[in-house]
Every structure is written in C-alpha cells, then in structure tokens.
Symmetry: C3
Subunit: 156 residues, 3 copies
C-alpha cells in the first residue's frame, strides 16, 4: 500500500489553492496517493459555471454562490481583483503554471477530487453543478477514514 | 489505546469553526479521541460573555477582547455581519446544525476542550472568563505531546 | 532518529507567525527536530530588507515585494497597522517574547529555516535577498520528503 497525502482545501483564495495544487501535483508525481477534499470556499474550484445554479436553491444559497465565484481572490491584497490579476501576470512571466494547468496536471497524475457533501448541501450544489473530474462526494466520516490512513494531512 | 484527532483552532471565523466542529463531532462519534486546542481568535468560542472582562486587564487587552467577541465573523464576505447572518439562515433552512448545537454535541460525544495558556495570558483571560466546559488550560508543550501521539493533526 | 515537526508557514500575518514560532521553539526545546518551510507571504519573515529588491525583478514582482513587507499585519482587525502595534504593546506588557526574539530563540534551539524555491521564483527573490539564517532553499518535493517523515505536520 502506498503512502498518502490528504489535503482539506477549505480556502477559495488563489494563493492558497495554488499552494495546495503545487503540493498535490508534486506529491502525486513522487508516488504519494493524493486526495483533495474540497469544502466550503474550496468548492468554488469544482463549480462548472461561475454562478452555480441549482434547482430549489433558496435566496441565501443563490447569494453564497454569487459571492463565491470561480474568480478566486487573494487572501491578502486582493484589491478588487487587481492582486490576482497581477499575480497571474507575474506567474506567466516567470514561467509558473497557472491554476488551470495545475488542475489539469493534477488529474493526469491521478490526484483524487472529493467534494464535501455537507458544504454542497449548504451551498445548494448537486453533482451536475460540479465539473466531471470530481471523483466522489463524501462527508466528514469518509474524510477522517482517509486521513487516519495518511502520512501527511493538511488543512489549507 | 484509541487513535486521536487533535485540532488547533486558531481561527475565530464562523465558517472555519464550523468546519472544525463538524470534523470533531464526526471523529468523536466514530471512535477517535478528539481534542480541540483553542488558541488566539479561537478562544472567542470559549468566552463566557461577549466582552470577557478580567481584573487587571490593561487597555490593550480590553480592546482585543472588545474586537474579538463571540459574534463570529466569516473569513470571507463578512460584510459587517450580513454574511454570518445569512449563513446561519441558510444552515437553518437546509437543516444543518448551528455552531451552538455542534458545540453541545461535541461535549456529549466527549470532545475535549483545551485552552491555550499563552493566548489566555495575552488576552488577559483567566479560568473564570471561560465556559465551564473547558477541560484544561495548557501550553504549547502539552499540545505537542498530544499531537505527537495523534494520527491526524490539523491547524484551522 | 528523533521525531519531527514540520510547519509550512504560508501566512505572513503577525498572529499566525507568532503561533508558528511558539510551536517551533517549544517543539525544538522538547527534543523535536523542527523545520519551518516558508512559502508565499511567509517568505516576508526571511527578507533582509523591507522591500527586497532583486536584479531583473519585473514590475509585478516589485509590486508584490512592496505589498508584502516585513511589517506583518494581523489576520483580523489589522486596522492599517493599529492592530499589530497594539498587539506588540500588549505582548510587551504581559511579558511575552516578540516575534524577533522568538525567531532568535528558534535559531539558538536549532529550528531549521527552509525557503520555498517556487515562491522565491515568483517573488523574484534570490539567496542574497534572504537573511543569512536560512538553511536551505528547496521545492515542494523536498518538503514532502520531510513531511512524510514527520510526526506532526501543520499548514499555517
């Protein structure tokens, strides 16, 4: 049985998600069985469309989906989107992979994507609101079972 | 000896504390010995009253206690309290347990509450400022001894 | 072989970095082999000068270095620097060690400082922009190798 890295990705900030995906791709490339458990703001990365609309979403859920779009902010110096825009420009200039590329690489390398059912329930998201790459939708119990078995656990 | 989950709860944000308590209750329910080590903003959850007043608190400590009330903000989109208010409404609508209920459940399930002495010293809080549910007040050394022995360690 | 604590210090907030250094010094003092892997905003702690200037930095990199100075903000209630100022005053009053002292103690106790090469590349920082205390500059793969071998892993 190979060793495991399991990341809870709670954040939906560009800088933190980049950190998560750089760790996940590197881990998977070096033989660690890697899973990202997307919860709360982290779910934004798994949404198919900007404002994920689901049948039967109440006003509050619509609002939360409106606020948490796929346009990821920075955890610091967001400056109404200027920060992330500048960050992406710098990344391009120094030849770093953008988040979208890292996400594609992660999948090619076998990183598992798991969406938190509790957060999905809160946000009013169902399977069809999420990108097809999502492997599974599970709750905290399944996460814990995996984490117990993992050499490295991180909450990002 | 049963396996352990130990969470450092540094954050006092509603969204992050919810994540911590959902993990803690689920872990405890599934047989993991679970401890939450409350530090810095996380201490707000353990305060007996809104503005914990202690004898001999200096001006700065009074201010920090004033700023960090039990009215937990969101880590994103707090919008002067509108975010958390909306969040609680949505949680109610979809049938999720509120933080207060999760905290009660956590105690029934045997989750241990430990307050960080260093943070308490900084905030000017003593035992009588904290809710009776607090099991212990310890420092970083005691946390590390516990964490060394835990299968899962998270910093939230 | 002694047991290990490995911390990813992603944050450059005063409150969070204090938590990291209190844990690191205590761990090292109690015999844990302790490493801090500084990445992204956490790199600010390792900068030699306020606005680290490197040859060939592009405009974006200059901006990021300008924004992320060694003047660490608070994760909450920063209030244009009033929060951290107040925090330092309170710490002094209650006899807590300031960050600078904790960093010096950490080095005396043998805590290892490792800078993330990817973040340094992004920020346009090279070895000469960093304080001499930095032991090594490595990437995610080296971090993961260390983390796999650590009893306690935290992402702060």
């Amino acid at each position: 049985m190979s060793e495991k890295l399991t990341i809870i990705l709670f954040s939906g900030d560009l800088d933190k998600t980049l950190a998560a995906f750089i760790l996940a791709t590197t881990a998977s490339a070096s033989g660690l069985e890697t899973t990202i458990f997307f919860t709360f703001w982290g779910l934004n990365l798994l949404k198919k469309t900007y404002f994920a609309r689901g049948k039967g979403q109440n006003i509050g859920q619509k609002l939360f989906n409106f606020m948490s779009t796929k346009k990821l902010p920075l955890s610091k110096f967001n400056m109404l989107g200027l920060g992330p825009w500048m960050m992406k420009k710098v990344m391009k200039k120094v030849g770093m992979a953008q988040l979208e590329e890292l996400m594609a690489t992660a999948r090619q390398l076998g990183v598992k994507y798991v969406a938190c059912t509790t957060s999905c329930g809160f946000m009013g998201l169902s399977r069809e609101n999420l990108i097809p790459e999502v492997d599974d939708m599970v709750g905290a119990a399944a996460y814990l079972a995996l984490a117990k078995d993992s050499k490295i656990n991180l909450f990002i």
